[in-house]
């Protein structure tokens, strides 16, 4: 639009509007993943046999992927730190490092999927695997979206030294995606 919207620049709560909105996005996502995890848990308690299925999941790849995500969360914190110092070069550098680790996560995920599918564990094998693919797939989709948005922020905003607050906003989202994985990992990989 041609003119600046006054509404967007106001902050009656003292929290910047962008950050406030990201928190509400995270809140609504919590309920979506919460519903999925609750549905999984309900089924898990009903079906003792799922413990054996969970034993098949590759804890090693899951563990490595946990490591990638946690480290990437640390990087995005560093990126935020530099963005507050208005250091475009370092901010971009750490944003891209975060994206790289997200890419590692997705790469390992695909190897994992490939191995499982070639061993005959597909979306249709049984309900454990349906849940497994739905939950990790939905999570992976969120990782992918986060990577794309982060790339846009790094190249579109930070390179041109504007909209610094977006680094913090994507950071909040990225931590959330990370935390979802912290829930999924023990449920799908460790609890046997």
């Amino acid at each position: 639009m041609a003119h600046q919207i006054i509404a967007t620049s106001r902050s009656a709560t003292g929290i910047p509007t962008g950050r406030l909105a990201v928190w509400w996005v995270v809140a609504s996502e919590i309920f979506i993943f919460g519903g999925l995890i609750a549905a999984y848990l309900l089924n898990r308690f009903l079906h003792g046999s799922w413990a054996q299925e969970a034993a098949v999941t590759n804890t090693f790849i899951g563990g490595i992927n946990t490591f990638w995500l946690l480290t990437s969360s640390w990087f995005v914190v560093i990126a935020h730190h530099y963005s507050e110092q208005r250091d475009a070069k370092k901010t971009r550098q750490f944003l891209w490092l975060t994206i790289l680790l997200g890419g590692f996560f997705m790469g390992f995920k695909f190897v994992e999927y490939y191995k499982e599918i070639s061993h005959g564990m597909t979306l249709f094998t049984n309900n454990f695997w349906s849940f497994y693919y739905t939950a990790t797939g939905l999570h992976g989709f969120h990782v992918l979206c986060g990577m794309v948005i982060m790339a846009i922020i790094a190249e579109g905003d930070i390179k041109n030294e504007r909209n610094w607050h977006r680094v913090e906003n994507i950071g909040i989202y990225w931590h959330f995606v990370d935390i979802v994985w912290i829930f999924l990992f023990p449920l799908l990989y460790i609890a046997k």
Partner: protein, 576 residues
């Protein structure tokens, strides 16, 4: 309250800067008022479709087997599809867009005194997704197999497998349409909440916010918190329908009852999601036309929050007889009866607001008062159903149907008419004709009671829902019961006919109505400070500041019987 350092510069020339085409002004606009109108008119169009569906299946029930004018013979599958989509449309494509999206978009920025929503482009995206969802739903009626007919609750396995529901394309399209609609309202809801939290005018404290803004914000939060699990469930059900997973297929280890939990965990708070905005609208109108301060503003607010929280613990009262552990009924009966307390507090406070007032019977006020009376019937009949003992008998009968129409009709239809008659001068700058408005009011209200009062008796006599022809049930085929059905149907046709004066009044007043000034009703809230209709940017004379609560009518310290929120005055109100 901290205002980030932006001078509220006057920018009354910005909308003259460039000529806008029809498309950029009305179709791809980011202006909150235009988006509100888009939601409003889409909602009204969908209401006409939903009303037409109701007409067709009511005609089938009154005159089974005969050809319905403007439709033809109603087959069983067409009947199921009509009732299913009537319910879906009226909740997801009428009540939600009109009450939350249209009123939220139009009212929130005006009432909190700012120029737009905080994310205007997200707002536009939300409407576009909503429009897409409506198109998908309408398209689903015309695919091979027809529209989905497994009831708006879509219980699997019926909804999951085409071999059971016989709508291989209708069922997934129905689900996709609902999911898109949910996404649209999540986006819109985040916008509403953030706007109301952050973009308030200078001086507007928490308890200076008009109650309707509170209600829309609380409703958006309830929606956000309740719909998440349903989104997860919808993904699972969509996979069951299209890919062949077995999340809800009992024969392959799935659990069909899980869907019921996910659905009703959303489904019950959803009632309050649409109720709250309507209650807010009624509060605004009542205070203005009774010239009274709202009785117990904070009490109503706290009751609303309590209602919202309690609404998450009542969902299984829809499942008393669905085969879940019968002991759960103790818990859910208790919470369900407890929820009558906050609702009663709200209704009592509304009735108490009338005490000592000076009531003007404008059309908007008549609709607002009828909302209270009709909703009271809807509310009290819920007790028979919330009590698990009587629910064994009444569950899924016409008693239930009449009960929730006595709640949803006041909410979705009476609430909408209240809002339109009240804010029409602000929306379009002209007054509607009051005489035709009153004809519309009395026709609608009397015919509405004519439709649904008989259905309580049919339900208490054991007549179940979603049955396309009662002639197959000897106990229900009797003449006296059929007479009641015919009576209800004739009332429906009369009610639909009485909407014609409204439509004509609406259209004619756009051009011929008496010019409304800024504040034709002498109301206090900030939207009446803006010109009618408000230009892009809303407040060309500078952004308003707020000095007092929204309902300072008949204040003893003041000559006039109203005291606009933006008028400077030395006396701070007691409402802090």
């Amino acid at each position: 309250m901290a205002e980030v350092a932006t001078a509220d510069v006057s920018h009354d020339d910005h909308h003259h800067e460039h000529e806008q085409t029809f498309w950029s002004k009305y179709v791809f606009s980011t202006d909150h008022k235009i988006i509100g109108f888009q939601y409003l008119f889409t909602g009204i169009a969908m209401a006409i479709i939903g009303g037409y569906f109701a007409y067709v299946f009511r005609m089938q029930l009154a005159f089974p087997g005969s050809s319905v004018p403007f439709f033809g013979i109603v087959s069983p599958s067409a009947y199921n599809s009509l009732v299913t989509n009537h319910g879906t449309i009226m909740i997801f494509w009428v009540a939600m867009p009109v009450l939350i999206a249209a009123m939220g978009n139009f009212l929130i920025p005006l009432m909190i005194g700012c120029d737009d929503m905080v994310f205007p482009r997200v707002n536009r995206l939300s409407y576009q997704i909503f429009l897409l969802s409506a198109i998908v739903l309408i398209a689903s009626f015309f695919v091979p197999g027809g529209g989905f007919g497994g009831a708006w609750t879509a219980y699997p396995p019926l909804s999951a497998l085409a071999k059971y529901n016989a709508t291989p394309f209708g069922a997934p399209m129905w689900l996709i349409a609902v999911a898109l609609e949910i996404v649209a309202f999540l986006l819109g809801g985040i916008n509403f909440i953030t706007t109301a939290m952050n973009a308030r005018a200078k001086g507007m404290r928490m308890y200076d916010i008009p109650i309707v803004v509170w209600m829309i914000v609380i409703a958006s939060m309830l929606f956000m918190a309740s719909v998440g699990p349903l989104v997860a469930g919808a993904v699972m059900l969509l996979f069951d329908q299209t890919l062949g997973t077995t999340f809800f297929d009992a024969s392959a280890g799935g659990d069909p009852v899980l869907w019921q939990h996910l659905f009703w965990f959303f489904g019950h708070p959803e009632v309050y999601v649409v109720l709250l905005p309507a209650m807010g609208i009624v509060a605004e109108v009542m205070c203005t036309f009774a010239r009274k301060k709202l009785f117990g503003y904070k009490l109503i607010l706290y009751a609303t929050v309590g209602l919202g929280i309690l609404s998450f613990f009542v969902w299984a009262h829809h499942q008393f007889i669905s085969g879940v552990d019968p002991r759960a009924a103790y818990l859910f009966t208790t919470t369900t009866l407890l929820i009558s307390i906050p609702v009663a507090i709200m209704l009592f406070a509304y009735i108490a607001t009338l005490y000592g007032g000076s009531i003007q019977f404008t059309t908007a006020m008549l609709f607002a008062l009828s909302f209270l009376a009709e909703f009271l019937i809807g509310g009290v009949t819920g007790i028979w159903l919330g009590s698990s003992g009587t629910d064994i008998y009444l569950h899924d009968t016409y008693f239930v149907l009449a009960h929730f129409h006595y709640t949803f009709f006041p909410i979705a239809i009476i609430g909408t008419f209240t809002a339109i008659y009240y804010w029409y001068p602000k929306m379009f700058g002209r007054m509607m004709n009051e005489t035709w408005g009153k004809i519309h009011f009395w026709g609608t209200i009397i015919a509405f009671n004519g439709i649904f009062l008989p259905l309580f008796f049919l339900g208490a006599a054991g007549q179940h829902r979603r049955i396309y022809n009662y002639q197959n049930f000897p106990d229900l085929a009797g003449d006296n019961m059929q007479d009641l059905r015919v009576f209800a149907t004739i009332s429906l046709v009369i009610m639909l006919l009485f909407q014609i004066p409204f439509v004509i009044n609406f259209i004619v007043s756009l051009k011929r109505g008496k010019k409304a000034g800024k504040n034709p009703w002498k109301a206090n809230t900030l939207e009446w400070v803006a010109p009618s209709p408000p230009p892009h940017g809303n407040f060309p004379d500078g952004m308003p500041e707020v000095y007092r609560g929204p309902y300072e009518f008949a204040h003893p310290d003041r000559e006039d019987d109203y005291w606009p929120q933006n008028e400077p005055g030395n006396q701070k109100p007691a409402n802090k």
